[in-house]
């Protein structure tokens, strides 16, 4: 029936729009994971907290009276500093630690940041104003907010810049070199500590940008970081831990799958989607969609 298919198509389109928007957040978070992992073989469980901090601090700066763009800028830069501090004070001192130890350290950092946010801002939910207008746009019978376009546009730009950074600049390549072989990187004169610092700062920056982009639509609170972090990690695994562009693709895919699942199957289990994907990928193709397989020498 023409009407039925039309309605399904509208629904599908709506879910896709929502999915890609949310997926962009996951993509940026996942990208942050991938960058840190590429630089240091560490999975930073605090990645989601950068998103939360970006959004929450933007709300705060706005509340203090700063003009909107300035508040956004301060929030993003401030979170970047938190990322640098994380590397300097938590990761670097524990440089030779085992994998389990480092995981626990970053989890500790995530919880610490969450606790700090709880202390500073309480349990309330906050929203940022939309960047431009709040008037919905219509594509067929599906609605799209201008904010959605902001999310997509800024994400695309950021991803492109990050790609350029790693592919074309010396610093970017130096960071990748550290992941491949830290000793060799040292020997050719790369300041490994500085590279790691940059990697963490960059990841925090990306997280914060994702945070301020999505806060007008999805709101934010002190506890928002955990789920976002986990889903971003899911995106990174889906794309393949070694591949930054894979993480982006994974994030978008995850957002869409989640949205379709919530729409067509059950909205309560929406969050479970991400974790189900993690389990399936880890069981059947741990190297993800685009990742490389690592060989182990005996």
């Amino acid at each position: 029936m023409h009407g039925e298919t039309r309605r399904m198509f509208d629904q599908l389109l709506q879910f896709l729009i929502t999915g890609i928007t949310v997926g962009s957040t996951y993509a940026l978070v996942g990208l942050g994971f991938a960058i840190i992992y590429n630089a240091s073989d560490v999975v930073n469980f605090a990645q989601g907290e950068f998103v939360m901090l970006g959004a929450m601090s933007a709300v705060w700066f706005l509340g203090v009276g700063l003009p909107f763009p300035v508040a956004l800028l301060f929030a993003v830069l401030g979170t970047c500093c938190v990322g640098l501090a994380l590397d300097k004070f938590a990761i670097e001192p524990a440089r030779g630690a085992s994998v389990v130890s480092t995981i626990i350290i970053t989890i500790g950092a995530a919880i610490f940041l969450r606790g700090a946010a709880l202390l500073l801002w309480g349990k309330d939910i906050f929203a940022l104003p939309h960047f431009s207008s709040e008037e919905p746009l219509y594509i067929g019978n599906a609605t799209m907010l201008p904010q959605n376009l902001w999310v997509l546009g800024v994400t695309a730009t950021v991803v492109y810049l990050v790609r350029h950074f790693f592919d074309r600049t010396l610093t970017g390549k130096a960071i990748l070199a550290c992941a491949c072989n830290r000793t060799a990187a040292h020997l050719v004169g790369i300041n490994v500590r500085m590279m790691l610092l940059i990697a963490y700062g960059l990841a925090a920056l990306l997280g914060a940008i994702a945070g301020v982009l999505i806060a007008p639509i999805a709101f934010t609170s002190y506890g928002a970081g955990i789920m976002l972090g986990l889903k971003g990690f899911s995106a990174a695994i889906l794309g393949g831990m070694g591949s930054s562009m894979g993480a982006v693709a994974g994030g978008l895919l995850l957002g869409v799958l989640e949205s379709l699942g919530a729409g067509f199957i059950s909205s309560g289990y929406k969050d479970a989607m991400a974790f189900l994907i993690i389990l399936l990928v880890l069981f059947f193709k741990p190297s993800g969609l685009f990742g490389r397989k690592a060989a182990e020498r005996v």
Partner: protein, 321 residues
């Protein structure tokens, strides 16, 4: 053998405490919670400390025990002890099923897989309202009685939980210095060498994973009957992290370390009620500080420090004379 002197002292302390302070809230009520947490930490230590693995989803097995017991006893009127056996069987099946694929993973991937598992279980607890009562939880869970002896006072619960807790500590100490325990610790040390010594490492890891899950499930059932109420909030990701913190705080691989970690982390929020807002912050700070500066754990670090202090005293005494 040395380890067991400590055990007897510990057991004596635990059993004497309620005799000395029969009406003290901290002993009878908090003591029960501490006891349950100790079993959870000790069981997690078997998996994380001995076998060197990581699980961020241990709370899920605790919750499965609690909810299975709760549902079977309050909705279907089944005898609590029978319900407990069913819960153990259910967890045995599930843990065995996921053990092989999950334990093929290492490091971060293993952490994420166990995390994912724990969160999915928690989401099911929240979503399946008809079975579990949803996010508001389930109340009206019947009490427990042992051959007609009703567990209707805090003191009685303390006794039962203390016995269970001491049994689990005893089990853990037995395992450490046994062929099977050494095999696990060997897997932690070098998986390839362990294999060359004839150890089926995949099977060893799966076995200890299931054992730790069963212990958690058992105390989950006890928890449900003791509280007469369960809700998904008690079995979430955050609690899994708390359990990891307990094991890490004490020292991975040390049974008494796990006991120490459980005691400290359960008492801390009770003592810092004033600082409830700071609780999350402090937990995070503890995790970071310990793993950065004292990765062998606070308890193990203290014991080692005490030992070397005594050794130095003995040396200087010899030199002096």
């Amino acid at each position: 053998m040395r380890r067991f002197y400590g055990f007897f002292v510990f057991a004596a302390l635990v059993l004497a405490l309620p005799l000395a302070f029969p009406d003290n809230y901290f002993v009878t009520v908090v003591g029960v919670t501490i006891g349950l947490h100790i079993v959870l930490a000790v069981s997690l230590n078997l998996f994380m400390g001995f076998a060197g693995q990581i699980s961020l989803g241990h709370a899920a097995f605790f919750g499965m025990g609690a909810y299975t017991s709760a549902i079977l006893t309050s909705r279907y009127g089944i005898d609590p002890w029978l319900a407990m056996l069913v819960a153990l069987a259910v967890v045995a099946v599930i843990a065995n099923a996921i053990a092989r694929p999950v334990l093929k993973l290492r490091g971060h991937y293993l952490a994420m897989a166990t995390l994912g598992f724990g969160i999915i279980v928690n989401i099911v607890m929240v979503q399946e309202v008809d079975w579990t009562g949803g996010p508001d939880g389930m109340s009206g869970i019947p009490g427990l009685s042992i051959f007609g002896w009703e567990l209707d006072s805090d003191l009685k619960w303390y006794g039962v939980v203390a016995v269970v807790m001491l049994a689990s500590v005893w089990i853990s100490l037995n395992i450490v210095d046994s062929r099977a325990g050494r095999a696990l610790r060997a897997v932690h040390g070098s998986e390839v060498a362990a294999q060359m010594m004839g150890i089926d490492t995949a099977r060893a890891k799966a076995q200890v994973f299931v054992l730790s899950a069963l212990l958690a499930c058992f105390v989950g059932s006890l928890f449900a009957h003791q509280q007469a109420f369960v809700s998904p909030d008690s079995f979430n990701f955050f609690f899994s992290i708390e359990l990891v913190t307990m094991v890490v705080l004490g020292g991975l691989g040390s049974t008494f370390g796990a006991v120490f970690g459980a005691v400290v982390l359960t008492l801390l929020p009770e003592l810092l009620v004033v600082f409830e807002d700071y609780e999350v912050l402090i937990l995070g700070a503890i995790l970071m500080t310990i793993m950065i500066f004292l990765p062998q754990g606070l308890f193990v670090g203290l014991v080692q420090g005490a030992r070397s202090l005594l050794a130095r005293r003995r040396e200087s005494a010899l030199v002096g004379s």
